[in-house]
Symmetry: C3
Subunit: 470 residues, 3 copies
């Protein structure tokens, strides 16, 4: 008989004694509500509560993890349904896309995408056969049919998944209409926005000056002056807070922060705002604005998330042809110890301030992030991010961060996904890996079993609730 | 029944077969004498042999591992008994400090401090309940009472712990009176000094010129001239050697070394000695003096220890308010391959010269330190340092260094602590982790069992004895 | 009774359940033919098929892994039979060299050399006692005697080892006479050359201009002009391809690539070709030629291998006295994400182009190489290289690369050795470690067992065959 698609002991250590402990710990956290304090779901789903489209448009075409691995083996983005910007041809038959995906599904062996997708197939859609060329059509049909049923609409799934709160991510100018619509609808779900002002803080982004114009329009402030710009950002933060936001998010290429005097900052802003930056100005401005964002967080209480170190759009051809977020972003080395120093010197001990750092450079776990978070009260460690949101990635994070930062300077799991259906899969995986880690500590008598149980619950629920004030 | 505070199988792998092997190996090294060739105990303890003070002053306030993690969760240094430099108020009631510590003790779950402290409570003081708010007072009372008994005085503990030799660490100007007193006392313990001249070698330290003045005074040399400065350093090394020193220790922020001609060196010294360094002079001078220290080690036989890569006093506010060594030092990336090249080119094959390198940047284990130590006869690898002196840190060190450097280019364990009571705990932990590592190699038939036993003994005792010539 | 020198379960995980799975997987790949698509064997062995010399000249003196670890413990290269360039004395008695090696054999505990050598002793020569001072002479005699027998000649061993194809490595000017001789001999073995033009691409190498002269002579092109230089390189590539080459190989100190306009490139070449480079020219030229080599691979189909990041000849004294490849090369940090960007922008999606990247900087597995290979169709990940060609090195590679790049963006194992006798040992080790890794994934239900079996075969054979077009 074939193995089930989802084994009940999946991801638990093979040693029978440790596995039994892991099972015991997991049983206590498996059913806890899901907090999703950082992610990229579309709030329109929950405002409109319309059925999701076909399987390919839902599961294949928007998932850059899936696209990139298929591309790496020579499958074109066009053939996966991604529309070229120049209006060129691309595959529009979702079943054809799905078959290509099923054909390439074996490539995902050993990756977290495979574990998430199998969970979605088995748990969300009740499928029991592995996806592959032979089962492609049956899976497609089953999923298509399910998506037309009311219990697969966004709100119903939100409830079925046991989500307690879900944060989306929006640019500084977003009117947050969908969030307002959800709130006004009387539905019990909690969909909160996140303030992600990168576009308005980064002179290197091509639409930076449009963002400044947008800030003027949205707030009535003169965002082309330095005081007006700061006032406009404060106003947008207040707008987000009024719509339920608990956090901001920042995605600079480095972790550099920079403290400047008011005249220095004003002069720097004047140069970048009129589109005449000198060499180094863009980096300096981003670095200074990180300090300003921290300052505003101290004032208004938004938790500050820092996702530093992604080199966006490594492949100019893919960017030109298909746009951003198609799987061509790459990690780079980050220096948190020197980079964050100016910010932490100002606000590392600030009352009520929380800065949650994420990294794509795993060498910083033990060398930089855990030592910093194990000292500065403001700094907490975010969950393993992106490429490292994976079983081994999670194990490395716990093994490399815990001994210096402990468990209580981390903030639980964030799924960070736009793949709504995979959210329970991701939390399931994270909870299993944390229980596996704790079970090993308990089995090696480095932790008492009752402590392990308390910490398992903290990692699955309590820490996120506290850190993000949900 | 509750688990004992210290399980006899703690830190051994959970697999029954491997665990049995680990137990067997550990049984053969558990009772070996302790060599502590690098650490920060106060030699006055052994000179005076006075009782230790209260539990908080002994265990909480001086331990920067403990302070930093409590600080990271918002506990103030003042409330933990650390006196501000400006004479401001701070907690002076040791029981109140202890209660705060007990309250925060759960934060240490998963950290080595927790394992060391539980060992101290259980093994040194015979306590069997976990520390926490409910047991805080009972623990305090038991420890207080014990500390008043003769068998808890420094010399008695030294003997009870089975210490064979213990090195302390002193600045270049230290008169070594306590070491002289210990030697003159007729007591059988061996407390040796270590020559740590950072203050006299680093123009960036604020008291650098005072150190030069002190060198003049202590040696009668004209340490404001380049030849006199070198002569004075030689004289101080001789003074340390006469008091039993086996090693020097150096803690520069990077691993840079620099070979200079005599005129270049003299000109550089002239600038830094008169307090008029040019840009880059301080780094160049530190780098050059590393080569000079190696040269003197070749002459006088002091083993040279290099603790490179700590960025001291990351938080200016903590430094200003409380001074150094309060938990705010941070690691940074280090380049040993290029940094040590000039030094190794001169002395990497020098007869009788030993350079022991420690790192806070674990990425250098497999990329730099093991390849260098697996070639240059002079270079040996120190034990995992500071943040990495921990179970997973030790495992990473062995897993990443052994395949390229072997076991015999490492030098055994150094506890590197000022927490005297924790010394047996730290050696116990290190011996267990090494036996666990060796047991796995033996279980996977990568090492014969009799070899594993020989190596376990080497790691616990022989290698340190040989490397430090104890 | 003593443990056998080679335990049948060596390198498999200790957990009985996982071990059983690993055994099962290994049984299916153990006997697959060996593909050795990258290495440094001497093609003359297979052309002449003469007996190998004495044990020391075969096993000790040419192996820089062996030399370096003995040197690190104070054994001189002269005493191991390495001839100084100045004609000074060195040990010429192979038995004396062998005894020194046997004396130091304990130093190799925990290193892969030990595992490879034990395999050679046990499997190739049928020895059952561990090497050591007591068995040195017996081993020496047994090996000496065996080497005189016909079944220990190179071709016989090639067949006995089950090698299907073996690539050697040659400079751009190599006439490939031995390869021609092998092909003409009618023997069934497949010995193919690899085009390694570093000498002709690197202005920092002392014989760079001699290489240019050699290119003129070998091809009739005017290799002192830019067009002639490119034409000469194309001609040499064609020569290699005509003799069976499937791949080129490139070993620059960094991974920098640089795209230049034709006039820029021509001007740069002119400066380096006349021996008058400006500062930065050598690095720029190497970086540009990497792009040119990729361009030629797109044209002629040679698979492009990149071994980036070795700092050659770290110890000038060893270089001066004994020459290159004596164990004094050191790894350094490499930036693949920025370094390879220009090359990948040009050819990352080029039809039929394969670039196989190897690294000595393990931090790049999860941060750079797996993300790049998980996107660009041209880029594949080579096996763990050099210091990391070891059990833990392989485990780290799989654990850090697989979750982002999958298995199918890797290319199987390359032994990369000049130690011909150790080739089956190295493949045995790699196959065992891969099966151990897959067994753990299967035991933790992260992979189905039938998938694990398919992937084990791919890693042992299929992927190398496909990637190198063998």
């Amino acid at each position: 008989m074939a193995a089930p698609l989802l084994h009940p002991d999946r991801l638990f250590p093979a040693d029978p004694g440790v596995r039994a402990l892991a099972r015991e710990l997991f049983a206590q956290v498996e059913a806890l509500p899901i907090l999703s304090p950082h992610g990229h779901c579309d709030p329109a789903w929950f405002a409109a509560d319309a059925p999701f489209p076909d399987p390919a448009s839902l599961i294949v075409t928007p998932d850059h993890y899936v696209l990139r691995l298929l591309v790496s083996q020579g499958v074109s983005l066009e053939s996966l349904g991604v529309a070229p910007r120049d209006g060129g041809p691309f595959e529009t038959d979702p079943r054809a896309i799905w078959r290509r995906f099923a054909e390439g599904y074996r490539l995902f062996a050993g990756t977290p995408s495979r574990l998430w997708l199998d969970f979605v197939f088995a748990e969300v859609f009740g499928l029991q056969e592995p996806l592959g060329p032979a089962t492609a059509d049956a899976h497609y049909d089953a999923i298509s049919e399910a998506l037309m049923r009311p219990e697969f609409r966004p709100r119903a799934l939100y409830e079925r998944f046991g989500v307690e709160a879900l944060a989306t991510t929006e640019g500084a100018l977003d009117p947050l209409d969908h969030h307002r619509a959800v709130a006004a609808s009387g539905w019990g779900g909690r969909i909160v926005p996140t303030f992600r002002p990168d576009g308005a803080l980064d002179p290197d982004q091509e639409d930076f000056r449009d963002q400044l114009a947008g800030l003027c329009e949205a707030t009535g402030e003169d965002a082309l002056s330095w005081p007006g710009y700061l006032a406009a950002l404060r106003a947008r933060r207040a707008h987000f807070i009024a719509h339920g936001a608990r956090a901001s998010d920042h995605g600079p290429p480095s972790a550099a922060s920079l403290d400047l005097s008011e005249p220095q900052a004003e002069a720097l802003f004047a140069r970048v705002a009129r589109g005449a930056p000198e060499s180094g100005d863009a980096e300096a401005f981003r670095a200074h604005m990180l300090v300003r964002m921290a300052e505003m967080s101290v004032e208004d209480g938004l938790v500050m998330q820092l996702h530093a170190g992604a080199l966006r759009n490594h492949d100019p051809a893919t960017l030109a042809r298909f746009g951003r977020d198609k799987g061509a972003d790459m990690p780079q080395a980050v220096d948190f110890v020197r980079g964050l120093a100016p910010l932490l010197h100002r606000f590392g001990h600030a009352e009520g301030f929380t800065l949650i750092a994420f990294t794509l450079d795993e060498t910083t776990y033990s060398r930089e992030l855990a030592p910093l978070a194990g000292f500065y009260p403001a700094l907490k460690l975010g969950a393993p991010w992106w490429f490292h949101d994976s079983p081994q990635g999670m194990r490395r994070f716990r093994e490399q961060a815990t001994e210096t930062a402990g468990f209580f300077n981390t903030v639980g799991f964030t799924d960070d996904t736009r793949a709504f259906l995979s959210i329970p899969a991701r939390h399931d995986l994270a909870r299993r890996m944390d229980c596996a880690f704790l079970a090993r500590l308990a089995a090696e008598h480095r932790l008492r079993r009752e402590e392990a149980a308390d910490i398992a619950r903290a990692l699955a629920y309590d820490l996120a609730k506290a850190a993000y004030r949900l």
